[in-house]
């Protein structure tokens, strides 16, 4: 196995093009496990940790461009205020060591349905930026992730960044694991309120082959809120509407049973998370300035 170490993005694209099948490595927290377990034996490993462009984030109109190599720790510390949903999700990832190394770029690369970085991107309609010597593409995250552990990355391409709007309302992320830290999600739920647009974004994690948006539930609750003019009045959402939202989220889940949990549990649990996160986000909206 050979180790390729580009110093800049251009070199990275060249090496990626000249070594088809080279496996990019960023934090290494997924790929090193695969190598150790002998699940993968790539001929080349392409180390992206020395590519400065990937480790940067910047503001762009109404949002952020976050380099694929920005660690979870940095997202929490540097972007926690502006991207609270993603920061909450980042806090649930692994342990301090994993958060120091692991990246959202790697999470997108792995495309696991249990990836904690993904539901917040779905809930905020983020886009993935991929690029190669040929040029740059921006793909909505829900189109980028094409299946369990599958994504739309082309042969010569690298994930360079994701583009995500700044939070325009309260956001939440909630994840179930059997133990209270360092655990892969049994199921998870991400939520973003957009009061200005009158929209609610929501996404289930780890309860279907990919993260899934919960369109019907979103439309239902948007209807509830606008019908009673709740965006303006900031009055309570009724308990029955919250529960109904949870029930509709359950309907969107298509989980399997495995060593981490049964399908029945995952289904029921995402409903509970949906109801609770919506109530927290709404409470924050009612009491808050956003």
């Amino acid at each position: 196995m050979e180790f390729l170490q580009p110093d800049n993005l251009r070199e990275a694209f060249e090496m990626r093009a000249s070594h088809p099948g080279a496996a990019p490595i960023c934090g290494g927290t997924d790929i090193m496990v695969e190598l150790n377990f002998d699940h993968r034996r790539p001929e080349y490993v392409l180390d992206l940790t020395r590519v400065p462009e990937l480790a940067e984030w910047s503001r762009e109109n109404g949002g952020f461009r976050v380099g694929a190599g920005v660690s979870y720790t940095r997202i929490i510390e540097e972007l926690g205020e502006s991207l609270p949903g993603l920061a909450m999700a980042s806090r649930t990832v692994g342990s301090p060591q994993i958060r120091n190394r692991g990246t959202v770029g790697g999470n997108l690369g792995t495309a696991s349905p249990a990836g904690d970085g993904l539901p917040p991107l779905y809930a905020s309609d983020a886009e993935v930026e991929v690029a190669s010597l040929e040029g740059t593409r921006r793909i909505p995250v829900a189109e980028f992730i094409t299946g369990p552990k599958r994504n739309a990355l082309g042969d010569g391409e690298l994930i360079t960044a994701f583009h995500i709007p700044e939070a325009d309302g309260p956001q939440q992320y909630s994840k179930i694991g059997t133990r209270n830290a360092m655990v892969i999600a049994v199921c998870a739920f991400g939520l973003a309120l957009h009061p200005e647009k009158g929209k609610v974004g929501a996404c289930i994690g780890s309860a279907a082959p990919t993260p899934v948006r919960t369109k019907e539930a979103e439309e239902f609750i948007e209807g509830v809120i606008s019908e009673s003019d709740l965006w303006q009045t900031r009055r309570e959402i009724s308990g029955s509407a919250l529960r109904r939202f949870g029930d509709m989220v359950e309907m969107s889940a298509k989980p399997i049973s495995d060593v981490r949990g049964t399908a029945a549990y995952r289904t029921r649990a995402v409903g509970v998370l949906a109801r609770r996160t919506l109530s927290w986000a709404w409470d924050e909206y009612r009491g808050g300035s956003r």
């Binding site: 909630s174 694991g177 049994v186 509830v224 509407a241 649990a269």
Partner: protein
């Protein structure tokens, strides 16, 4: 990075830098290096010219082997040896109690992961690739995976001796006794793993004369040596073992793993051979805690006095015997718990199946039955309308009572007292549930609840277990003490074969020696087979048995010193050793430096505790020599809707006879509770059709620091008159009753019947197997039927 180091049997003597006597807290010499990553584990061993060994394992839990073809693997560059059962020079099977386990399989494999062939190559990757080139022709057979199934007449027999490995039947008092109040239940415990952090590893070095030196992580050097010598067809003196750095054990290192394989490869190639399992292989490379199904019936009178206990225990022993016989016996003897039970009928069965072999793990048979008998006691209390603690205290066994196996309960047996203690310990402070820091809620920073659905519960349990080896086993330890003067200062060298597996045995040996001989400088030599056996570092026995041997050897040395003083100084009064010299009362007679004048005094002794006896056909006999008791109170908070748990606090009271080292004791209690918590909530090797589903720490979940609550402890020091310093073994009791205490607290919080551990969130939240689908109601926010929150 730490430097990898060549093994040596001749290490420089580094006197422990932490003087301290018994009763004092002394940090362990290995503590700081372990935290800094500088400790030398057996996986760090290195020698120039060494080869790497690897093991081919069966992918099938049950199969016939028609042929093994290693030709292609043997021809690979870099491969130095490929060995199969045909290459085992001596006995082709091994085992501590029953030699039924093939060194390398022939004709049959009986569990997934069973070793079939071994390879030595100049690179670990080459060795792994060579394994892939070994062609094994299997005829896959249906596995027998349910012990109840294995028990049936018409089930295929996995061994010539049949599927019943062991049965123990205990008949105590009137086995047909009846009672006014009766409760019954069925309980089940999953397969827990010892999950020691340093996987199996070691290095075998051929001596060029047909013998071999093995540097190894193990719990018992001599039983390894004897089994290795037998299968290598060598005299025991040609197989020399030296303990290397051990990364935890908990029972999982009592059986052989790579020991014999590395020796075979080393002798075959004439080169040092290192073997090192990775985490996944480790799950297949050692035995686990026995899963068990238990049917119980308790009878009591209306006042709550126990009248009888009937129990039927069915253990899954897996494919080979390991220490299953002893587990079966232990479980039978402790099945009723530490209560005065006038009548009992206990049937304990150990079955062979095609599941992984099960064997020793902290608690050894007492853990399984404790979960059942304590759940039964709670049920009985409920039936009687009594407080569960009062019911326990009322029935607590006392010295002079009879155990169900006929032995008289010896002094001290403070069961009621430890229960009173946990009852009276202050409760953790109530804290407003809403608005807490997430880390103090079920789910932690995963942010699943801000207090919604969270209920608190409290549960109690008490358990007990034997210390040391029982039922007629010749259980002894050997120690050598050498007193000399180096650079003008007296020095004690302690030599035993006791395995330090992380329990602090080395520190304890030094503390005992200092205490006995009044000498500050103590060097504990590496444990090896140049001295006689110390027995196993298991059954909470080393402080007692090797501690006893070290004390006895010190006394023998002291007697020699006193003789010399009496001869040379004509002293006839009472003498003592203090501050590196000999005194009579306050009067210093001579320093050891002057007394020894360049000589050494060496004494080697063998120490035995009092004898034990096998059970008779009714399960009666003086089987055990010491008993240790602990009680636990658990306070938990459960998210009722999601079935997630935060254990708020564990309170425990334990009788230890004598606190030898407070810090070590605290460590044992904390660690034991963590392992008990793991069993209650998380830890299970999940099996499907004889195959392990979660052989990794991604899915075999151990408690983290966030899952582990503070432990409030009270320690009793009621001396055992037969034991050195009055001490009792302390390693296992914290694991035994912590599990049922936590589950009792979960029941208290949720009102659910929880008859199986680990308790999964599904069970705790009462979520059925089938997904519940509710059709959405029409309308945007129209009336929605209320549904219950659970």
């Amino acid at each position: 990075m730490k430097s990898e180091s060549a093994p040596t049997r001749e290490r420089p003597i580094i006197p422990a830098s932490n003087p301290g006597r018994i009763g004092e807290s002394r940090p362990r010499a290995d503590g700081v290096p372990k935290v800094k990553g500088e400790f030398e584990y057996s996986s760090d061993l290195w020698m120039d010219g060494m080869l790497w060994g690897a093991t081919l394992r069966s992918p099938h839990p049950h199969a016939n082997i028609w042929s093994i073809d290693a030709t292609e693997a043997e021809g690979m560059p870099g491969v130095h040896a490929v060995l199969t059962h045909e290459d085992v020079p001596g006995r082709k099977v091994y085992g501590m109690e029953v030699p039924d386990q093939p060194v390398l399989a022939w004709e049959h494999v009986r569990y997934e992961g069973e070793p079939i062939a071994i390879v030595a190559a100049d690179h670990p990757e080459t060795a792994r690739r060579a394994l892939e080139k070994i062609a094994v022709d299997y005829e896959v057979l249906d596995p027998v995976t349910d012990p109840e199934e294995a028990l049936k007449e018409d089930t295929p027999k996995l061994h010539l001796s049949g599927n019943v490995l062991k049965e123990v039947h205990i008949k105590h008092g009137d086995v047909n006794a009846t009672a006014e109040v009766v409760v019954s239940g069925e309980y089940e415990i999953g397969m827990q793993d010892q999950a020691f952090l340093g996987p199996e590893s070691g290095m075998a070095v051929p001596d060029g004369r047909g013998g071999v030196d093995l540097y190894i992580s193990t719990q018992w050097l001599h039983i390894d040596r004897d089994q290795i010598a037998e299968s290598l067809d060598l005299p025991p003196e040609d197989v020399r073992l030296t303990l290397s750095g051990v990364g935890g054990a908990f029972g999982g290192r009592e059986d052989l793993s790579m020991q014999l394989h590395s020796c075979m490869l080393a002798l075959d190639t004439g080169r040092p051979v290192k073997m090192m399992y990775n985490r996944e292989e480790s799950f297949y490379g050692h035995v686990h805690r026995h899963p068990c199904k238990m049917e119980y019936e308790h009878g009591a009178d209306k006042e709550g006095n126990l009248v009888y206990v009937n129990a039927r225990l069915v253990f899954d022993g897996g494919a080979y015997a390991s220490s299953s016989n002893a587990v079966c016996l232990n479980a039978g003897t402790f099945a009723c718990g530490p209560y005065n039970v006038p009548n009992a009928k206990i049937d304990s069965f150990m079955l062979y199946t095609n599941n992984p072999p099960c064997g020793a793990m902290r608690g050894f048979g007492a853990v399984q039955v404790c979960f059942a008998h304590e759940t039964q006691m709670d049920k009985l209390a409920k039936e009687l309308g009594m407080n569960p603690l009062e019911l326990r205290i009322k029935n607590a066994m006392k010295p002079g009572d009879k155990f169900p196996f006929g032995q008289t309960v010896p002094e001290p047996a403070p069961v009621a007292e430890i229960l009173e203690r946990v009852k009276n310990m202050p409760m953790p402070e109530e804290e407003e549930i809403m608005g807490r820091d997430l880390r103090r809620l079920p789910g932690g920073v995963s942010n699943v609840t801000h207090g919604e659905g969270v209920k608190r519960g409290v549960g109690y349990a008490v358990g007990y277990k034997n210390i040391g080896f029982s039922a007629g086993f010749d259980d002894y330890s050997t120690a050598s003490i050498t007193l000399s003067v180096e650079d003008g200062e007296p020095l004690i060298r302690v030599h035993t074969a006791a395995a330090e597996v992380g329990q602090g045995g080395i520190t304890l040996q030094a503390q005992i020696s200092r205490t006995e001989l009044g000498v500050e400088k103590v060097a504990v030599l590496p444990a090896d087979t140049r001295i006689g056996s110390a027995g196993s570092t298991s059954a909470s026995r080393q402080s007692y048995v090797t501690g006893g041997a070290v004390k006895m050897a010190c006394e023998a040395v002291k007697e020699k010193v006193f003789e010399k003083v009496r001869e040379e100084f004509g002293e006839n009064g009472e003498l003592s050793m203090e501050d590196g010299g000999v005194s009579a009362g306050d009067r210093r007679i001579v320093s050891l430096a002057d007394l020894l004048d360049g000589d050494e005094i060496e004494e080697t002794v063998v120490y035995r505790h009092k004898p034990t006896y096998p059970l008779d056909e009714n399960g009666q006999g003086d089987a055990h020599f010491q008993f240790a008791f602990a009680a636990h109170r658990a306070v938990v908070e459960v998210d009722e809707e999601l079935g997630l748990v935060r254990v708020v606090e564990i309170a425990t009271a334990q009788d230890v006879g004598k606190v030898m080292n407070p810090q070590s004791l605290e460590g044992q209690i904390q660690g034991g509770v963590a392992q008990g918590l793991g069993l209650a909530l998380l830890e299970e090797i999940q099996m499907k059709d004889g195959k392990v589903q979660n052989a990794s720490f991604t899915d075999y979940l151990l408690p983290t620091i966030f899952d582990m609550p503070p432990v409030r402890m009270e320690v009793l020091e009621l001396a055992d008159p037969d034991a050195p310093y009055g001490l009792k073994g302390v390693g296992e009791p914290p694991t035994i009753s912590s599990t049922p205490a936590i589950v009792a607290a979960l029941r208290d919080a949720t009102g659910r019947e929880l008859n199986r551990v680990p308790v999964k969130p599904e069970r705790l939240a009462g979520i059925e197997e089938e997904p519940v689908r509710r059709a959405p109601q029409p309308g945007s926010c129209g009336p929605v039927a209320e549904r219950s929150e659970s």
